[in-house]
């Protein structure tokens, strides 16, 4: 249960998330993490960048 190395960025706006997503191939959105994190730990998903949208005020 050890994920491969990845970058992590927490964003504060939808536009920032979209910008990061479109400019980083293979990047994944992290919301709750109940699906993505287990997949990463099993090395079934190996995104180079994880974009955490949990802090976007406008989505609350």
């Amino acid at each position: 249960m050890f994920a491969t190395e990845f970058e992590y960025q927490k964003v504060s706006s939808v536009s920032e998330a979209i910008q990061l997503l479109s400019s980083n191939e293979g990047a994944k959105i992290l919301a709750g993490g109940h699906s993505l994190i287990p997949l990463m730990k099993l090395r079934l998903a190996e995104p180079p960048l994880v974009i955490d949208i949990g802090g976007i005020y406008e989505l609350r």
């Binding site: 994920a3 491969t4 190395e5 090395r43």
Partner: protein
Amino acid sequence: MTTRIFGSGIRRREDPRLITGDATYTDDVQLPGMVHAAILRSPHAHAKIISIDITEASGAPGVVAVYTGADTDGVLNPIPCAWLPPDCDIKAVDHPAIAKDVVRYQGDAVAVVVAEDRYQAEDALELINVEYEVLPSVVNPEAAMQPGAPQIHEDAPNNQAFHWVAAGGDTDAAFADADVIVKDTILQQRLIPNAMEPRSAVANWTRSMGELTLWSTSQNPHIVRFLGSLVTGIPEHKIRVIATEVGGGFGSKIPMYADEMIASFCSMQLNRPVKWTATRSEGFLATIHGRDHVEHVELAATREGKITGIRSVVYAGMGAYLSTAGPGVPTILHGLIYSGPYDIGATRADIYGVFSNTTPVDAYRGAGRPEATFLIERLIDLLAVELGTDPVELRRKNLIPKFEDGHDVASGITYDSGDYEPLLNMVLGHVDYQALRQEQARMRERGAYMGIGVTCYAEICGLGPSQVAGAVGFGGGLWESAIVRFHPTGKVNVYIGTAPHGQGEETTFAQIIADELGVDVDDVGVIHGDTSNTPMGWGTYGSRTTAVGGAALALAARKVKEKARLLAAHLLEAAEADVEYDDGKFFVKGSPDQSKTIQEIATMANVAWNMPEGMEPGLEASAFYDPPNFVYPFGTHLAVVEVDIDNGNIVIKRYVAGDDCGPQINPMIVEGQIHGGVVQGWGQALWEGVVYDDNGQLLTGSMTDYALPRAHMFPDMEILSTVTPSPHNPLGVKGIGETGAIASTVTVYNAVIDALRPLGVTHLDMPLTPEKVWKAIRQGQGS
């Protein structure tokens, strides 16, 4: 003392550190310069290893070393099996720690990477290139013995690991003369033990000293040292095994595993501390599994319901290799107790141990006895249907009458003590059994399906006399030892050879000492789990810790007390014969004011200013206890279930556990043990079960796919007990760690079948999932 501490449900002193996270488990151990191991495991159930290329992995970031099986040649001896029953043609096949030419189950170790951190080690695992030639595989133990099945070990034809028979009485005559014979085929499905703490090892080799310290998640650190010495060649006195904090085991932390020896090997090669901790998925693959029997069983009886014989042919899966105690489980711990609590003239167990391309199988809570209890109780319920009698009255008719000191059963063993019917009556009275049956009838009239299951059991535990251990091929002794030591201030430490890992003996053993020596329970510390400061012991399993280790402790305490009495006589200037003991005080007979507390004696013994001639200083004693017999706890369990016939869902409405484990040192802890065992047994009945596909791939390889029971699924348990002391140990105690799991699986199973019988359902294979139940109902109703 007005309230006796022995028998008091005081809180577990272990819990504050466990609950607050202060406990130091193996994975918490951090040593300077420590590196991390990750093990490459075979993705195939059966394959030849053609080649292994470690070039790329060896050069990966952080990697310190990569080893394959070839590197262990001449350094690591094979992993031993330590229970080889005699007279059964057992094949002690070679089990290399790291596979060399062939892998025999999905999870077999193929290589190990050591790196500066675990992530780097895992990254490098992916860079090892192994070329396999996949071979055909087999997973079902009965199928594995059929002609044409893939052969797993060259020296075990037909994959037969052993053929063991236990027969007593004339079973052939019993069946030839029987008025009624009932039969069943029972699948004791394979289970995955799930201790909360995964297995872990920290190995620290000191080259300059030639010494290995191994932190290990073990139920028996002294056995790890003993067997670890055989595997590594390190002399036993230069190995220290530490297993002071272990987060549950249920049998799965008995074995000597390859992985802990691989970590030790890596440390010896690198002269650095090495940590390996199993991931949960790795635990599913490489920690032992339990059960895995295919059983053909039958029972003979008279028309009046007197049981005259039970016999079986059992195919017991051993997995790909023989695990440490694996062969002893379906034989000694299973085939010898086919009488259960009943007077049965003839029993015969034909047990085939079978290799298959699966994870090795070993002891899992109850270990052999749940399987035996299941088949006896299942057959009795079938007999009740056949004869049209009440299943409870049928049981009552066959119970062994009360005995206080020994009862021989057909298999050749001698039960210690038993008084079965009062507990049966207590459980029936508690629920008003007749009223329950009437309610069941009323519910059926309105299309609701309630079922009742009642189990009577007697089991064998408290392993056991060492002479018997030797006779049944157990590769060690089964005695225990303890040291009781008074410090100068009158406080006490005891040092025990057993290794509690959640059962609460730090509390109950302090209660034994407080009771024996009249000291405050909080003035007693219990030291266990470290081979460097505890006396030899064979470990915590088979519900033996209290019955054997607790007995050793009581004997050591009594030696201490006698020395204290002699010293008290000297200090009180009284004749030895005139000094008596009561409640922590020694006094001159007839003059209670002339007294010394045991703490005062402890101080005087430690300073040794005024000792009688010839008496050694200090106040401590050790004792070794080898029990003259096993202990045989017993009980009656009752389940009430309801089945929703629209969706197959089963709800346990009531569960009553009536158990007799002799005198209870701490009733709260006894209840806790019953709760845990019962839940694990329910898990087998209703939810748990390993699934391999035809290629030996473990489909239930994670918590997502393997259904462990959860708290919301249960009713409150109703706990009852009687007290029938064992005649042969100093405390009279019997084991309680496994009885729940031994009784509860078949109790729930029989209740479910009892509910479904009007719908034409008479047999189901476990686990009784809603889908399976729903389909059976549909089939039973012919639609």
